[in-house]
Assembly symmetry: C2
Homo-oligomer: 111 residues x 2
């Protein structure tokens, strides 16, 4: 059964959905700019003005889809972007748009 591709597609859809909200896309961008150390949850919430409980749910969602990782350091939880997951997603999108199809020109993306 060639359902490996189907699983991949479903996973990528979930990742896209997880980033498909302004607060969570902001979170990802912030974590990328703080890569690889990441940021403490409270710092993220302060920077983006997101209530604690709301932020916690967003971070849980991103973690569920493998887009962020978390490590505890005492009382603090450090969240980091997961570069490998983002690489997988970008490789998929790049392949679909620029390789499998020739819809997009690489030079217009890498510029």
């Amino acid at each position: 059964m060639g359902n490996r591709e189907s699983e991949d597609l479903s996973r990528f859809a979930d990742m896209l959905s997880a980033m498909g909200t302004e607060p969570r896309l902001r979170i990802m961008r912030l974590l990328l700019s703080a890569h690889p150390e990441g940021m403490v949850a409270g710092e993220i919430g302060a920077a983006l003005e997101i209530a604690g409980s709301t932020l916690s749910h967003h971070l849980e969602r991103l973690r569920n889809e493998g887009l962020v990782t978390v490590r505890r350091e005492g009382t603090f939880l450090w969240y980091s972007a997961n570069a490998v997951a983002l690489q997988d997603l970008l490789r998929f999108l790049y392949a679909e748009c620029c390789t499998r199809s020739r819809a997009c020109e690489p030079r217009k993306i890498l510029a």
Copy 2:
């Protein structure tokens, strides 16, 4: 007011969300593989086994976010992937992951 970046971010979040569902990601992939002619709505529905009314809503959503374009040819509606919109999105993601931050290595994406 530096809200241009904020508008962009919101737009990219909407595009990600639009592709963040398995049926719609499949639709995009199918349209990319048929680029640039695109496909007739009924063909898409037959290939992906999606009910007509459901498909119509998915296509409307993709069109609203600028990810597909449509042209009428008699009774038929031809849907195509919008390469420019996809380029914008990929450029944004690539910049965030590989340029602004160095979280991802280009060679692992372009491979």
